[in-house]
């Protein structure tokens, strides 16, 4: 799991732990303090996030598969 924690945009006190891949599936992640929910707003943003995650995943896999010598 690649969880990312951000500060709550609403209360600025609590934090919201996000799982980016689940965001793509429409998941809503809530603030630990005020209960505000965060999800991706539209299809354009979902696609942008998905492309970025795929690209990042490729970089990570390439780094692991690359021979050193």
């Amino acid at each position: 799991m690649n969880t990312v924690t951000i500060q709550c945009p609403h209360c600025h006190q609590g934090s919201i732990a996000l799982e980016p891949r689940l965001l793509l599936q429409g998941a809503i992640f809530t603030c630990s303090l005020c209960g505000s929910g965060l999800s991706v707003a539209n299809e354009t943003s979902t696609q942008l996030l998905e492309q970025s995650l795929d690209k990042l995943e490729q970089i990570k896999q390439h780094a692991h598969a690359k021979p050193l010598m």
Binding site: Q7, P9, S36, S45
Partner: protein, 227 residues
């Protein structure tokens, strides 16, 4: 026991290890790891700058300044509950979910980690086996067998003479001579490299934290409903 004092000299262990390129054997993998780290860092910087930022030219007064990198934003929906008191005294409060659209820098919600070679093991095992053995065996055997027999008979009046004789001789001889010499060398060179995730560099962390601290909902204009 075979006399090895006159046989081939044993391999000198010190001589075997002299002249080994220890600098290359140990330094080589470390240099390769550093190079790999540099390549991975460049790849990640390239990803950050191309994916998480958009490039724009800042033109002011007809002069084009240095390129400005603006964070790529994605639109998120923030849902929060708002308690609305009842219209009249005594009416129960109503909790309403208010949706607002906010823009988050993409950088803040990507699971970024620094990829780097975090472990390099150089195992150098050199095994020098030197052995000398001489097997020498002489086998000599000789056997002799001799046999003689004589039988004589002498008679009278009507004479009878009978003579019998027999002679036999066997002899055998064999010689075996063998010499065996053996020498062997072996070397093993193992390099283990592991690439893992390290904490983000403080600089990138500061940028992400600055963006995160400034996430504030921006009310988007209401979308016009189709008639």
């Amino acid at each position: 026991m075979a006399d090895t004092s006159n046989g081939p000299a044993l391999v000198s262990m010190a001589q075997q290890f002299t002249g080994l390129p220890m600098g290359s054997l140990i330094g080589g993998p470390l240099m390769a790891a550093a190079k790999a780290n540099q390549q991975m860092a460049l790849t990640q910087v390239d990803f950050l700058m191309k994916t998480c930022f958009t490039q724009a030219s800042n033109t002011s007064g007809g002069k084009t300044d240095a390129k400005v990198y603006q964070p790529t934003m994605i639109e998120m929906q923030l849902t929060r509950g708002v308690i609305t008191p009842g219209a009249k005294a005594g009416d129960p409060a109503v909790i309403q979910n208010i949706n607002s659209t906010i823009k988050l820098p993409l950088l803040t919600i990507l699971p970024l980690n620094s990829l780097a070679v975090d472990n390099v093991n150089v195992n150098f095992v050199m095994q020098v086996n030197s052995s000398y053995s001489e097997d020498h065996s002489d086998t000599s055997s000789e056997s002799t067998h001799a046999e003689g027999s004589f039988d004589a008979k002498i008679g009278g009046f009507l004479w009878s003479v009978e003579v019998k004789g027999s002679v036999s001789h066997d002899s055998s001889s064999s010689t075996t001579n063998s010499t065996h010499y053996q020498k062997s060398n072996s070397a093993t060179y193992t390099v283990d490299v592991h690439a893992g995730q390290l904490p983000l560099p403080p600089g990138v962390g500061v940028i992400i934290q600055a963006y995160t601290n400034n996430i504030t909902p921006i009310e988007m204009p209401a979308q016009e409903k189709a008639a």
